[in-house]
Symmetry: C2
Subunit: 320 residues, 2 copies
């Protein structure tokens, strides 16, 4: 018997992983926002390189108060919406429910931890190229691996959920066709992910370019590697051992990636908030805590904050 899942934020990420769990027969309850009426009528559609599928009937809700208690709540919401998290998640919780936060950025689990016990919060990184292309319609372009584990807090002193419960989640995921791995060292996993997100999410907005355009130009390609190296150094200063050669892996891996618009670029072009604080601000908080100056990441952070607050009229005019 698998767990009962709730999905808060059923978009490119939550809709994809929740959809795979539901397709495999798990009980999955999805919270939708603007797409709820469409999904009630037409279900959830996922075009995936793993095989397209359509779930004509899903357990779809327009409000969390109508949702049942769940063993596991997957957070697929953007971190820019975390001020809503408590009100969205609380109706789904038992005292031992696990909340698995699948957001980009560092210490994004703190928003859940602020109203949950130390054994309830897990975090994960998704290596996923996926976009929402229409109401209840997700296009999975590449990858899909999840690496997740106990969130131990900023000071590393929380226990996090029991290992056998995390293993149950992993097992459910693997049985659903998801490449899922557990980690005992979530911070190192997060910093490795940031070594991609910090260069490529930011440059895609600052240079108005897709990842393949960034990779094809010798200046931006070299810049991406320099940024990734600075992120590695912050991670090392914060106590995570990441080899210098991991920068090469990030760059090589991006070369092999399909042409992809990062979530930050899509958010920016569609006039939605961008995850500057979760990805850049929180990484810089950690750098500051360690006395590391991080000149390039600070520069990107300040540029992105300017861009976010001075959106041009043309941004936000791309059709959804």
């Amino acid at each position: 018997m698998g767990y009962k899942y709730g999905v808060i934020g059923s978009g490119a990420l939550g809709g994809f992983y929740g959809g795979l769990l539901a397709r495999a027969g798990h009980e999955v309850h999805f919270l939708f926002h603007s797409d709820i009426e469409h999904v009630r009528k037409h279900g959830l559609r996922v075009d995936s390189k793993l095989g397209d599928f359509h779930l004509p009937r899903v357990r779809a809700y327009g409000s969390p108060s109508q949702m049942p208690e769940c063993d596991v709540v997957l957070i697929g919401l953007k971190s820019t919406q975390n001020h809503l998290l408590e009100s969205l998640v609380t109706p789904l919780l038992r005292s031992d429910s696990i909340v698995l936060v699948l957001q980009n950025g560092l210490n994004v689990e703190q928003a859940a931890r602020s109203f949950l016990g130390s054994t309830q919060v897990a975090g994960g990184c998704c290596f996923l190229c996926s976009n929402k292309v229409g109401p209840g319609h997700i296009r999975h372009l590449d990858y899909g691996r999840i690496v997740f584990g106990a969130y131990r807090g900023i000071d590393g002193k929380d226990t996090g959920p029991e290992a056998h419960r995390l293993e149950q989640i992993r097992s459910d995921m693997v049985a659903s066709g998801i490449e899922a791995h557990l980690t005992d060292d979530l911070p190192t996993t997060k910093w490795k992910k940031l070594m991609w997100n910090i260069p490529f999410n930011g440059l895609s907005v600052l240079l108005d370019a897709s990842t393949d355009a960034i990779m094809a130009d010798s200046d931006s390609r070299s810049l991406a590697a320099r940024i990734s190296e600075e992120v590695r150094q912050i991670g090392c200063a914060a106590g995570c051992l990441i080899e210098p050669s991991y920068v090469d892996w990030v760059i090589d891996h991006t070369d092999e990636m399909v042409s992809y618009d990062s979530s930050m670029r899509l958010d920016y072009l569609h006039g939605r908030p961008i995850e500057v604080e979760a990805i850049y601000g929180n990484a810089l908080q950690e750098a500051k805590r360690c006395g590391f100056s991080a000149p390039i990441v600070t520069t990107m952070y300040q540029q992105l904050r300017f861009m976010a607050s001075h959106r041009k009229a043309s941004a936000g005019m791309v059709s959804q």
Copy 2:
């Protein structure tokens, strides 16, 4: 008796200073490019906060081969055109003519030095807010100070022009209403100017913003100060003593400046080449020579090179 002047590049800068010299009765020969027919018919018009003026007849040429030998050749051309410099300047030269290079950036005098003797090249910084707004029509918005002096080469071993000859130029300028100063230390003057150009020219393109928008936002304002400080440190590493408080002066001074689109932003928006190499590339060459890493300026350089080679369709569509 003043000197006889030639002006190569009679735009926002060369047209302004040459126009003031001509208005005061100096013999000034102007090389025009696309504006030549208009200027022959209608003369040169300068709208200036120092007082508007119109010179109905100027010594205007469409080709340097028609121009006479001059005592002083002012270079108002953009450094991006320096591959043309020798062919444009040579017809105006006697063996002792002085070429005064008034271009943004570092070691931009090298282009002239490559075909001129060690006593012939001077360089200067113009603290000038001026735009060309139409054919033969210049709008001077603010400032206008020139600080110039002998160019002593990258290795500092050239003699540069004799002091009394530079003093004659300064005297001619001052008598024409130009605030002109001589410096014995052109490199320090150049680095101080770069402490403005490097942050504000680059950010105006990268953030698509005027100087007052950059100054009004706390992130970009702080970023501009951090960039200016890094430029100061490169300058110090290169042997120029510039106090840390000069960063505050740059920022305070920019606060007081009229709202202004930097020349780099205008060039970018009009689809013209931008002076990335003269301003950023040459400063980074100097940093490299001194073993200074300059992470922020390197980041801007790589971003700007990407922007310059991936101009969006919208750029270049602003009317001249």
